[in-house]
């Protein structure tokens, strides 16, 4: 029988360490599918973050480089400037890109480096046990905000797409959500556009993917998808920002 849907070649046939229902598995498959479609596996260099996706290099069957926490875009800048013919992208979570790496993110975007970034926003620190992240929603309960995030005490959720959309060096910004099969297909389209932009030397492209973290949210995989669809998109509206 003919295979209609199967594992992309860039994704190694190994077991992942992610929790049941985690969005990372889907997002990493989408990245691999786009790389296979564009036929750029041989010249791809990924920069992996610190966070749940820290061992993405075990799952991806192309060259990867590990950066210090938050510094993925700084490392990617160096790689891309030395080897401009290579395809370089970073894959970062919200604790990496929007917390400890905010400076690197803003300045890389502002310089308009010809890079692509896949930003996984799950509104929580998943790897360390569900503490509050800068992207945590108001009133969301986490390990460090047991009564819910209070704007007076912890501030407001950081909206990366809105923040970067005013910078002239940025070529492409889109926020998508892994809230359903349709959302996953749209996310793939956005990743494809971000990767094509780099190949066409258009500048900095970032795709923000709202991704479920069922275990740290204290929900089942299905409830997490539902919560993402109903609650999280109110704070982080989907769509193209630039």
């Amino acid at each position: 029988m003919k295979k209609a849907f199967t594992r992309p070649k860039s994704l190694r046939d190994v077991e992942t360490h992610y929790c049941p229902g985690c969005g990372h598995g889907v997002a990493q498959r989408l990245v691999c599918e786009v790389i296979d479609q564009l036929g750029i596996r041989g010249k791809t260099i990924a920069v992996c973050p610190v966070g749940c996706a820290v061992v993405a290099y075990d799952y991806w069957n192309f060259d990867c480089c590990e950066a210090a926490h938050g510094r993925a875009l700084a490392v990617a800048t160096g790689i891309k400037r030395v080897q401009p013919d290579k395809f370089v992208f970073t894959y970062q979570g919200d604790g990496d890109l929007a917390a400890i790496g905010t400076a690197e993110t803003v300045h890389t975007a502002n310089r308009g480096e010809n890079l692509s970034t896949v930003f996984i926003n799950n509104a929580i620190y998943g790897m360390t046990g569900g503490q509050m992240a800068p992207t945590t929603l108001l009133n969301q309960k986490t390990a460090t905000t047991p009564l819910g995030r209070d704007a007076q005490r912890e501030g407001y959720p950081l909206k990366v797409c809105e923040l970067l959309s005013r910078l002239p060096g940025v070529a492409f910004l889109e926020r998508v959500a892994l809230d359903s099969a349709g959302g996953i297909i749209k996310a793939k389209r956005a990743i494809h556009q971000a990767f094509v932009n780099q190949l066409e030397k258009k500048g900095f492209s970032l795709v923000e993917i709202l991704s479920p973290c069922p275990v740290c949210w204290g929900k089942s995989a299905l409830q997490a998808q539902q919560w993402l669809k109903e609650e999280m998109v109110k704070t982080f509206p989907l769509g193209r920002y630039k």
Binding site: M1, K2, K3, A4, F5, T6, R7, L11, E15, T16, Y18, C19, P20, G21, C22, G23, H24, G25, V26, R29, S180, A181, I184, I185, P214, S220, A221, L222, Q225
Partner: protein, 68 residues
């Protein structure tokens, strides 16, 4: 005829595919797999190879086959 194959040992039992299958052809297994998760299996029937189960699977342990 189309068919879906699910890698029983890789499945972590998140059940996203169970909810998304429009024909309801993916169901929970009663026994556990080696990792201790309750996996799902394809019970057969009129699979249309829409691929929704493949799209939502975080483990990428579902393969969809189509004869046409």
């Amino acid at each position: 005829m189309a068919e879906t194959k699910i890698n029983r040992e890789r499945c972590k039992g998140c059940q996203l595919c169970v909810a998304v299958c429009p024909q309801g052809l993916i169901v929970l297994d009663k026994s556990l797999n080696k990792r201790g998760a309750q996996p799902v299996y394809f019970k057969g029937g009129k699979c249309t190879a829409c691929g929704l189960c493949f799209q939502v699977c975080p483990e990428c342990c579902i393969e969809v086959f189509n004869n046409e």
